[in-house]
Symmetry: C2
Subunit: 193 residues, 2 copies
Amino acid sequence: MDNTDTKIHGGGGETSLRQEDESDSDNKSGMRSAEAILRLLPVILCVAALVLMLKDSETNEYASLSYSKLGAFRYLVHANGICAGYSLVAAIIAAMPRPITMSQAWTFFFFDQVLTYLILGAGAVATQVLYLADKGDTTITWSSACDSFGGFCHKATASVVITFIAVLCYALISIISSYKLFTKYDAPLSTHL
Amino acid sequence: MDNTDTKIHGGGGETSLRQEDESDSDNKSGMRSAEAILRLLPVILCVAALVLMLKDSETNEYASLSYSKLGAFRYLVHANGICAGYSLVAAIIAAMPRPITMSQAWTFFFFDQVLTYLILGAGAVATQVLYLADKGDTTITWSSACDSFGGFCHKATASVVITFIAVLCYALISIISSYKLFTKYDAPLSTHL
């Protein structure tokens, strides 16, 4: 299981051992910083999407519309809030200069997967509501709302686009955490070359 | 990288080598069958969800409603069709008695991830439309459609529930394919214990 250790101890004399340890340490800190930055990015994106949506309300002569009137947008706000909070905690833990344990790797893997699905679902339903608000659906007598609430729809669209950039970050993060988890295991018998 | 090979050649005499090869071969075929079955399950689920939705139409004295009138349900039908087709091909390839190559592992990994996101998104938007069709939204004057089209809503709900069971299968499949891919790699330097 511990391939890197085997390799380091298997390499030449004490000098080469020290050199490998140094480059190992450099690599470690480089990878840690890269991961911490990638985990901080969704914090900014989710907070931006959340604030945009929270401040999104419009009143015209007929009615007043705000994000809280639509279930999908409320879900988007909650999902963005949860993701921002989790990403911040995860970034701090990932930045700590200590080796990751097996249970930490599993925890990261689990939550990264769940939150990727959560934020993707939130982005998808919000996109669907925006589409209906823009086009309407005559068969079931849903009229277009964006004709009367143009500003509201624009802000909501911006929030959804930012959410989807956060989804991309999360997809990447969940690949990284599954890489970090599963490289700790041996190859299954059915896949060895 | 090739941990299993090292282990087999490292073990005792020729007899133990043959025994290990036999149990290796049994394990291989067991894992292959399990994976093939897990990949066949979404074929059945997706086809069931697809057929239910395709046959879902209702006419009353006011209007006629079918899945094709709602963008989200059309997307659900397409997503289910794509997933059923992919899962069938993937199950056949996974069942073949030969070792998986690196490029195959990457291909499975990539498509499993993408299709998990695709079918999750389809399930999410369809759920959102069902929610709106059931409750309506008075602020933007969208009336409830399920009062007049109860049968349509019930069938659509069944289709969406089946889709979400397929999503669970896909989430599991994408974990398995990332396990099979990443166990082929060495542990990154920053995570070794």
